[in-house]
Amino acid sequence: MDFATGFAIGFLFVILLVIIVSLNKNKKIGGEYDERQQIVRGKGYKAGFFTMLILNMIIICLTNDDGSLKYITSDAAVLISVFIALIVFAVYCIFNDGYFGVFEKPKSTICLLLLISLINILIGIANYKEWFYDGKLSSGIMNFVCGITLFVISLAGVVKLMLNKREDE
């Protein structure tokens, strides 16, 4: 699949998603958070933001004079820091019951996340030859990293569901 086809498919998918969300805006399909959850999410965003800030500072410190890094390309390093910040936000929110909305069904969301993560991991593994560029880890690994990120988030969701179940009993 060339870049233009991939871009067109992605663009169409986003348009389809916007239409579906617009049609269902009167239905409570999740995404609504109560006051405690909004506070938790605020703290989660803060934790994620500072994680990214620290990681970016580390990247800057490790950057050579010519603007390059030793084992990884700069764009890959920055993108990985974004994914790590996302994991921090999501895991914090999940374990403080702020990730899934009031009317959201966690099980179906977790299944969807798992499916997307597996697709990304498989695409990433299939394109393993693009992981390295000029001997450095490049942004070609992003599908794999995205898949791992979503897998970690799904795993945190499963653990939290099990903890909640135990608490109910």
């Binding site: 109560d34 006051e35 405690r36 959850q37 019951d97 009031v102 909640n164 608490e167």
Partner: protein, 64 residues
Amino acid sequence: MKNLKLKAARTMKDMSQEDLAKIVGVSRQTISSIEKGDYNPTIKLCISICKALDKTLDELFWGQ
């Protein structure tokens, strides 16, 4: 500090945390946090809970 008054009032009404959460429009974990004393609700949520349980603010949230 645990809010035992809220738990007692809910139990008297034969409601689960899930039932009360649905009525007031919050998650079950939020009701659980209020009962455990981990979360201090806003006055708006306090009023909603009082209405759902036919109690006054004094009876559920003050004088503990």
